[in-house]
């Protein structure tokens, strides 16, 4: 793996490989000494052009647990606010010899531009770009579902037969997009539930069913119910009349939560708007995976960074002998 840009082009084998390595990483995170020496001497830059708490901290924790050096860069208070372009910022990082760049950007496709432009030789990890994709979030969601379903027996398994409902602001959600592609690749069946105004126009091309009624989706008894955040910062038009109406029709309120089968896990990528898309009872219940998702996020990001950085770089892959013999 050279970059991790999206889940749409991620093969089933690569996805399972990331999830399986994440299992090993998760094992190490239960030890007293959580740090591994694996990426000693590598430099990882967290390049965040958009605000983020958990994704940035999660990537930072993942990199540090693998002994990499981390440089955090946020657009606020940097030369970007003076008008520096993505290209110049990237070339600055290249000059500082970054081995990997974790990028979050408001523009869809920015990580791909970074990866394919030739400005930098570092591996690029997409940490969320515009309304395009957020692959590590989808991977940690899939990891969480697999772990809840199979427990210690998760390695090597996909999600075939699982039914997942994703509810809320699909239109603006990169998490929903990444999840649709990844869950489909892993064999799960995805249903999107949203107000018609928050369903994208091209949704017929997605491998997912679309519904508009949350109660029907709940009555259907999905294995996982993923509530998305209402992204106030991207709501530049009147997508629904009032927050109260949204909450009444598409929020997971105590009544709907009570109607949900005992076995359904309640997921939320965070940050939650309690009382809007999810009620406190659901968010704090044992069926909620919100905190598991945060814990698993570190393991999954460790796996992604490991697979990106630990092996030989294609550029220097000249004549190294790769037989097992050398390993002893």
């Amino acid at each position: 793996m050279r970059h991790l840009l999206d889940t749409k082009t991620l093969s089933r084998d690569d996805a399972l490989r990331i999830l399986d390595v994440a299992e090993d990483m998760a094992d190490t995170q239960r030890r007293e000494v959580k740090k591994l020496p694996t990426l000693r001497g590598k430099t990882i830059v967290n390049l965040f052009f958009e605000d983020s708490t958990r994704t940035r901290i999660s990537f930072e924790a993942a990199a540090k647990r693998l002994s990499a050096d981390v440089i955090n860069f946020s657009a606020k208070g940097s030369s970007v606010s003076k008008g520096e372009s993505l290209q110049d910022t990237a070339q600055t990082l290249q000059a500082m010899a970054a081995d990997a760049v974790v990028v979050r950007h408001g523009a869809s496709g920015a990580p791909r531009t970074l990866a394919t432009s030739g400005w930098i030789s570092a591996g690029v990890v997409n940490a969320g770009d515009g309304t395009h994709e957020h692959p590590t979030q989808a991977l940690l969601d899939a990891f969480t579902m697999r772990k809840r379903r199979f427990g210690a027996d998760s390695r090597g398994r996909d999600l075939s037969g699982m039914r997942v409902a994703i509810v809320g602001d699909i239109l603006h959600s990169r998490v929903a997009r990444s999840n649709v592609w990844l869950l489909h690749t892993l064999g799960a069946e995805v249903t999107l539930v949203a107000p018609p105004t928050l369903v994208p126009q091209d949704v017929t091309a997605w491998p997912a069913h679309v519904g508009y009624d949350l109660d029907a989706a709940i009555a259907d008894g999905p294995d996982a119910l993923m509530m998305l955040r209402i992204q106030a910062e991207r709501m530049h038009a009147a997508y629904f009349p009032t927050e109260r109406e949204y909450s009444r029709c598409w929020g997971l309120d105590p009544e709907r939560f009570a109607a949900l089968p005992e076995s359904t896990m309640v997921m939320h990528p965070g940050p939650m708007n309690r009382g809007l898309e999810i009620c406190a009872e659901a968010a704090d219940s044992p069926r909620s995976t919100v905190l598991d998702q945060v814990t698993n996020g570190v393991s999954v990001r460790m796996a992604a960074l490991y697979l990106l950085l630990a092996g030989e770089r294609p550029a220097q892959a000249s004549e190294t002998d790769t037989n097992e013999e050398d390993a002893r």
């Binding site: 190490t28 591994l36 390695r155 490991y306 630990a310 892959a317 790769t322």
Partner: protein, 176 residues
């Protein structure tokens, strides 16, 4: 290129049995023994050795696996290796005598990595090394405590250990 079998089914069996007796002898019994195999084939051998030691001593020996992938010093020289699970027996390794088991000892770098990995898991009272085949060419000051067979080899030859559980066959061959 020629391939020659240096250990047959019965030779491997005999070697493991002898190693098991030697482990019990040097440890003066089965107390506080923990046997850890290094994936892939070391784990298979570790389970066999643990079974033999249990058989001889009558005590249940904790056995597990210790993956060293994350601790290797040559990761950047190969395509990305996939880590294998590490399974430490319930009692842990603190204060125990840990016997590491691997199939072939060559440069010694795997064992160096294993020692580092072990240090992150706990503090054993002692660490010993059991090896099915020692083929020489050490690059580090590491030596085995229990050896199935010393096999002088040229550094460009290949030593292949094949075990029934993993490969469906049981032999050690040398390719030159």
């Amino acid at each position: 290129m020629s391939t020659r079998t240096v250990l047959h089914d019965a030779d491997i069996k005999r070697a493991l049995r002898r190693i098991s007796h030697e482990i019990l002898e040097s440890n003066r019994g089965a107390d506080d023994l923990v046997i850890l195999g290094i994936p892939t084939r070391g784990v298979t051998l570790a389970h066999r050795v643990a079974e033999l030691v249990s058989e001889v001593s009558g005590a249940e020996i904790p056995v597990g696996s210790l993956d060293v992938t994350m601790y290797r010093d040559d990761l950047h020289r190969h395509p990305t290796r996939t880590p294998q699970p590490t399974q430490i027996p319930r009692g842990g390794v603190d204060g125990k005598t840990v016997v590491l088991v691997d199939d072939v000892l060559f440069s010694g770098r795997s064992i160096r990595a294993a020692l580092d990995a072990l240090q992150d898991i706990g503090r054993p009272a002692a660490v010993r090394l059991a090896i099915l085949v020692d083929r020489g060419h050490r690059e580090l000051p590491i030596r085995p405590d229990f050896v199935g067979k010393n096999l002088p080899s040229a550094s460009d030859e290949r030593v292949n250990v094949r075990l029934v559980e993993v490969d469906g066959a049981e032999e050690v061959t040398i390719e030159s």
